[in-house]
Amino acid sequence: MSAGTLRQILLLTDGCSNEGGDPAAVAALAREENITVNVIGVLEEGTLNEKASREIESIAESGGGISQIVYMKQLAKTVQMVTRQAMTQTLQGVVNKELSQILGKDQEWDELPPEKRGEVMEVVDELGESANLEVVILVDASASMRNKLQTVQEALVDLSISMDSRSGSNQYTLLTFPGKRKDVETLRGWTTGITEMTGLFNKIAAGGITPTGPALRAAVNEFRTLKRRSMIFDGEDELDLEERGS
């Protein structure tokens, strides 16, 4: 069984969307395209907002992903943990499907006796190590997030260290919202490492609105450009990236 490619959107935000409809609906659609939507709520100490945390949870739930609310200090660790757990969860789903084909009915893997679970888990671990990963990182850069962007950047570099230690390949792209004229701004086009992303957040402009839904839609589209590019521009990726990254 080959692991194939896992597609994830990682949304980092601190609050409520206020334009462009319900982001959970977009997340549900993404899930239909086998894209997992994970959400990390970035908060400052002691500012838990009931409405914000409900939205964060519901986006991830609809997107088949994982949500986690964190305070600034634990951000780096959480970003890599969430990404990894979401990978495992997706792979678990794949293995579950295979299992139910073998076992006949809707038997979930954790309804197996504990000894058998171990074997399944080893397969999942193996797949997680070798699967190719494509992540659209979508960062909320509205005014209230401004002073958190330095930490977000460190967390992304940290994510890259963890993911690049696997044997599977990785592709990342970094988007922020709101953009100047569009819903999102591409800070860095598809690339294989985040380490060279230093100073990226310096050049983004201030924005008052938080169009989380439309931004998610743009993130889903990013996967289409990656698919198309790898078919048409095979071997000319470098050039294309330069253009998009500027």
Binding site: E57, A60, E61, G64, I66, S67, Q68, I69, A76, K77, V82, R84, Q85, T88, Q89, Q92, G93, W109, D110, P113, P114, E115, R117, G118, V120, M121, E122, V124, D125, E129, D158, I161, S162, M163, D164, S165, R166, S167
Partner: protein
Amino acid sequence: MEKMNSTSKNEAPNLPKGQKITGKWNRNSYTVIRPLGRGATGAVFLVEQNQQYFALKVGHNSMSITSEVNVLKHFEKVQGQILGPSFVDADDLFVYGERFPFYVMEYLQGTTVFKHVERHGKEWAPVLIVQLLGDLSRLHRAGWVFGDLKPDNLIVTGPPFRIRWLDVGGTTIKGRAVKEYTEFFDRGYWGMGDRKADEQYDLFSAGMVFIHLLSRQRFERDKDGWQTISKHIEQHARLRPYRQWLKRALTGYYTNADDMRVALMKMIQTAESMESTTTSPPKKKAKKPAATNTRRPKKTVPMVGIVDVILVISFLIITSILYLVGQLI
């Protein structure tokens, strides 16, 4: 699909004292004595079965519990030595109709590494690390890397005092990516390498455990991770004698745990001879460092001194025998 978040509904259940637990699959029963601790993947309870104590870990996520069981079972296969707590049972339990996966392991009784060094002296810090490196060597030879090495995952059992691994959840097959880590002990955090599970990853963490243990400090990274660490080593009087060894361990100079272990044993001896006023280095190879360490003056006595000691002791014995004989008559 399962979802992870910080709300309470997805946490491991709290099992009350005296509660009887029976596994769904293997039908083994355990009685809860008291809670031992709570971590990211579940809660650990002291339990009893036929007057024998065990540690029972119950979680909410089958994936992470199953992973840990896999590791514990693999540890059993690492021959000869007891590395982690031994595996006993894995099963499911029900609380109010909800299913929770759990596993049972050996109950390790002991103190934290910090308490041990506090009670028995700072000379224990390098000795515990020597023991730890021996275990790491065995683990590495079996094809595994510990991963999340930190004081919280260690315990000192005994006497005879021996460092043991308490939580083996982060153990990873060599060559894969390390999944669980703690920033201070993580090579990646300090910009000193990646998170690929290799020997040097553990050796870096072992070095940081040593720093934490002797300086009793965890500090944060400045701009340059390596500079932050080396500054700390230079500034700390307790760390300075070990600085060459530490720097080598942290920069990947030692390619296996044995090399680092032998080098530390040499460092212990030089550090001792630097501290004590006598100049002759101890010649005895410290196979059981614990024993040699507590009797430091004895082994640093020069040859002439040994003769003196023998003479004094024989004199004392002879006089006491004469005294006893005199009393009897």
